[in-house]
Point group: C2
Chain length 286, copies 2
Amino acid sequence: MKTISIVGTGLIGGSVAVDLRDAGFANQFIGVEQNQDNAAKAVELGIVDQVLPLAEAAALSDIIVLAIPVTAIQKMLPELLSLVPEHAVVIDLGSTKGQLCEAVRHHPKRHQYVAAHPIAGTENSGPTAAHKGLYQGKMNIICEKELSSENALATTLAVFEVLGMKTIFMQPLEHDKHVAYISHLSHVSSFLLGLTVLDVEKDEKNIFTLAGSGFASTVRLAKSSPDMWAPIFEQNAHFLSHALSEYIKHLQRFHECLINKDTEKLYEMMAQANQIRPVLEGITVK
Amino acid sequence: MKTISIVGTGLIGGSVAVDLRDAGFANQFIGVEQNQDNAAKAVELGIVDQVLPLAEAAALSDIIVLAIPVTAIQKMLPELLSLVPEHAVVIDLGSTKGQLCEAVRHHPKRHQYVAAHPIAGTENSGPTAAHKGLYQGKMNIICEKELSSENALATTLAVFEVLGMKTIFMQPLEHDKHVAYISHLSHVSSFLLGLTVLDVEKDEKNIFTLAGSGFASTVRLAKSSPDMWAPIFEQNAHFLSHALSEYIKHLQRFHECLINKDTEKLYEMMAQANQIRPVLEGITVK
């Protein structure tokens, strides 16, 4: 049976541990967690059996899953790879892939590493946010699979299959470019919507009693953890900046039509945006 | 027992009819509906008992509920008020209030009209989108209550109580200013997010298979009906334009920090945006 280390026992790492344990995929789960409260909580909730320092955990593990902020992954990954036993597999779950892959591209143990991005999450964080089935039916992306060994790749695919995910393969920059649009931009859009409304209505907190479900849904991601998201935005600044420019341009075009009372054009833009419905409904994860 | 006419038998009007009928608030529901398919559907679904032309429906009704696009309400309201029997109450459910109130401020039968805005809805539209409990636990705003008769106001409050709503009172421009931020801006933000991503990824439709629940939630309102929303944006252009300027400014500030790799400032903005969580959780509709 296997021993798995989960580095970062929050929403993402914790939810992996819970599902793998349920499926009997491993018999020993070790947490690596800087935050003492989270460490205690992860053990208390049965997410991991014990918490150990990274080097000790790595020495004992068959699989090491990295679920910490992406800048921390980038820093940890080269030295961690140097530490791990020859048979071990290191999988990272970060939301950016370019800089992480770059950091270990010429590492002598690169083949023991698999660069993954399971696209799932909620606006909550920490071990208490971890839960069963977070990944079920969702998509996973693996980058530079040709640099991972057959064993590392097979082990990783088995993990994601147990989580109920479909895996596709991409190159790191292609990944970073697309997730800038289909994930990171929605976070920016939501964070700034929240901030704008809070700034303007700061003297009228009661006004939020009027907020309907539409506002709640659009602003939901503004509750996300800055510890996780600031590093993602930093690492994906190039592609995200392009996405954000495009978004601002579209908003400015809409704004002009609004000022010019060009309702026909506003209508047309909204009708085009409506196409998101069939596009999203057409998605079936097999 | 009462006869109620529902002008516009879609999501908003249809859901009112369904709940009022369930509560036994009236025994006769008449639909007024231009769209022949929707008219047939509203009768088939039992939302209304029959569909009649506006003048006939008005002559038979104790209460007339307007749930059509706001520009259509503005056009219809003065002549409708002239038509209705002396005892009848006209309630509009539009998402803007300034121009509607203005249109009938000096109308001899102004006292028979109540300007309301129940803050509820979904991204769906038409009679098939109408459903029980849409309004339950949500907020309703009534404007210029001092211009409605005691009877009209009492009748209207009874309607919204049956729907399970809490009503508060505001002046029309105060209403329009605040809903620009807490409702209309989220629609713009979402419509343009959808349009931006569709525009950029138009040659890679498969990329949407990667969209997670975060994107789906943020872009949900982009599915909303342009027939309903273009008139709202047109009527609330003044306040919405201000809200949209503020939103664009916030996005530009974030964009600058992103380009300058000022991750500390990005972090700070996100941490401030996180305050939306306690603010929204603090909302309890009593």
